[in-house]
Symmetry: C2
Amino acid sequence: MNEIEKFKEKLKDKGYKLTTQRRVILDVITENRDKHLSSEEIYDLVRLKYPEIGLATVYRTLQLFEELGIVYKLNFDDGRNRYELYHNENHQHHHLICLKCGAVIEMEGDLLENLEEAIEETKDFEIIDHNVKFFGYCSKCRSRYN
Amino acid sequence: MNEIEKFKEKLKDKGYKLTTQRRVILDVITENRDKHLSSEEIYDLVRLKYPEIGLATVYRTLQLFEELGIVYKLNFDDGRNRYELYHNENHQHHHLICLKCGAVIEMEGDLLENLEEAIEETKDFEIIDHNVKFFGYCSKCRSRYN
DNA sequence: TTGACAATTGAAAATGAATATCATAAACTA
DNA sequence: TAGTTTATGATATTCATTTTCAATTGTCAA
Ligand SMILES: [Mn+2]
Ligand SMILES: [Mn+2]
Ligand SMILES: [Zn+2]
Ligand SMILES: [Zn+2]
């Protein structure tokens, strides 16, 4: 079963229809799997392939994709939602955000075992997901420091 | 030197004036040091003491307090800014947010040594601050699970 | 203590991301 | 293909936050 078929099935499962718009939006996100695009950035890219699309459709579709577990919503504190393709391992990649140039670097590996264990024990809190961001200076920006 | 004097000095240092509005806003935040209030919640509390204050002043002041390191801006993904008093240790308390009741629990202690070390080494990234949130179910919500 | 001047304020308008509304259009299904 | 349902695009709306600007207030030197 190919990618599109899987996608179609995921939609059909919940009574959603496969539309050109949804397909194009998925394409754009897939072609930019390394990026962390905002809704409007996605809108702009989608319009290159499908100029008639409406902005509301993009917003609606991103919401839908999040529900379906196709996409993961990110918050980089820049006042807009950002999205990345959901890969199973999502619960263990962190984002490093450069305070100077805004670069976003991914850190694979969870490495939160200590902390999560301490939380579950001392706070009796069942962790479902986490959101870990580091702010600082990337290597480029460090070299041309002051 | 008392609290107000310190505050006055912090302002004067950068050419800011000590106004009644700023003093009242600081009071409200201080009296709620255990909470994580949003801008509008702060506005409502401030109005009880100083009804003539304008909403814009509250927003402006919270921004200013953040610049001055008096207050720390939080993002709990609920579409509004929240603030807490800055205490030196800020770089090491995490927030646990209950997905059911919205409770916010604080987890003292950093416990990110492993992770931060790995980042600084493998990514050559200098960490200035981090933002760590855990989403899950608090003990109350766990007991009346389903 | 006063006055000059810069900083601050409140009210109101403006912004910007996201959502809601609704008539029309496309997808699915029998 | 017809009939039903879901989806779409254009537009209006919401809501938090920011901007604007005339009027007020705090500071500090004289
Ligand atoms: Mn990522
Ligand atoms: Mn806190
Ligand atoms: Zn950088
Ligand atoms: Zn709870």
